[in-house]
């Protein structure tokens, strides 16, 4: 009796395997931000522990950067950044969620192509819409995403004290360098 139902059982098992969600992941993505003013000490920090997840079916990207992960050359500047500007004990992470426009994973190859990711960035409890332009390429099972965008501290309610206003650029440049491996 069971043998009659075997084909249906086999089909169900196969579709279960085929529809397994494929995703691409980077757990050590690099994000650099810079807000240096000429003639003053560089204001620049690099985070090498950013998590980035790409879902090729949904065309979505989700990313989490721990604020403490941003390392400055000057540890005093790093302390001020965490304690005074961001208050990272209260707001430990920066989160980006977005959709890659006109994305089709089957079109990716070794040559880079330009895409726009439309999404939101949340820092210090404030959400701001950004649309970074990125270059995406795929080599084997690794998708690489590079690009950047700029924001202003005011978007996230980050207050720059008057006394250092001249030493910090009004616009912060952010650059991204991710290598996502297929899971």
């Amino acid at each position: 009796m069971i043998f009659r139902q075997l084909p249906i059982v086999v089909i169900f098992l196969l579709t279960g395997l085929l529809s397994a969600q494929e995703r691409y992941l980077d757990k050590s993505g690099v994000v650099v931000f810079e807000a240096s003013e000429e003639l003053f000490e560089p204001v620049k920090a690099k985070n090498e522990s950013v998590t980035v997840i790409l879902d090729p079916q949904e065309h979505t990207v989700a990313s989490l950067a721990l604020i403490r992960g941003f390392v400055f050359e000057n540890s005093l500047m790093q302390e001020h950044f965490n304690e005074n500007y961001i208050e990272s004990d209260r707001f430990p992470k920066a989160i980006f969620k977005g959709e890659i426009l006109d994305f089709d994973i089957t079109h990716l190859n070794e040559s880079t192509r330009e895409y726009t990711i439309r999404g939101t960035l949340e820092v210090r409890g404030n959400i701001y819409e950004i649309s970074p332009v990125v270059e995406i390429q795929k080599v084997g099972d690794v998708i690489s995403i590079q690009g950047g965008f700029s924001v202003k501290p005011g978007y996230f309610d980050i207050k720059i004290p008057k006394i250092v206003e001249n030493k910090i650029a009004k616009t912060v440049q952010v650059s991204l360098d991710f290598k996502l491996a297929k899971q």
Partner: protein, 128 residues
């Protein structure tokens, strides 16, 4: 005359040291995690369970800690322990460890990644 010269030398020395001291206070350089003494020693899964709770996470946040666990994955300079802690090392560890090894890693606790449910450690190094 000799005494005058000695006094001048001493004052010059004091001045130079003061300048160096002030310079180092204003430009302290990067924190050297490798030379700092670890404040806590904990297993990877215990650390993950603790840090999943926001209030407890502050206890370990930005501190230098030693984490012990089994290597579940190696990716470039990152080692994953027990699928609970992702440690980003200063040097490439692939010659020294492999999956399944039980190891100890010293690093700075960066925070809890709730996208993956893992703790991030950076500026890390292997401990013998």
């Amino acid at each position: 005359m000799k005494v005058k010269n000695i006094i001048k030398l001493v004052l010059a020395g004091v001045l130079i040291f003061s300048l160096i001291y002030v310079y180092r206070s204003v430009f302290p350089g990067k924190r050297n995690i490798g030379t700092e003494k670890a404040e806590f020693k904990i297993s990877a899964s215990d650390l993950r369970d603790s840090m999943a709770i926001a209030e407890i996470a502050l206890k370990y946040s930005d501190k230098v800690i030693v984490v012990q666990g089994t290597v579940s994955a190696i990716n470039g300079t990152s080692i994953n322990l027990d699928q609970a802690v992702e440690a980003i090392l200063i040097a490439d560890p692939s010659n020294m460890v492999k999956e399944g090894d039980q190891i100890m890693i010293k690093g700075r606790c960066v925070g809890f990644d709730d996208l993956l449910g893992e703790v991030k450690l950076d500026q890390a190094s292997l401990i013998q």
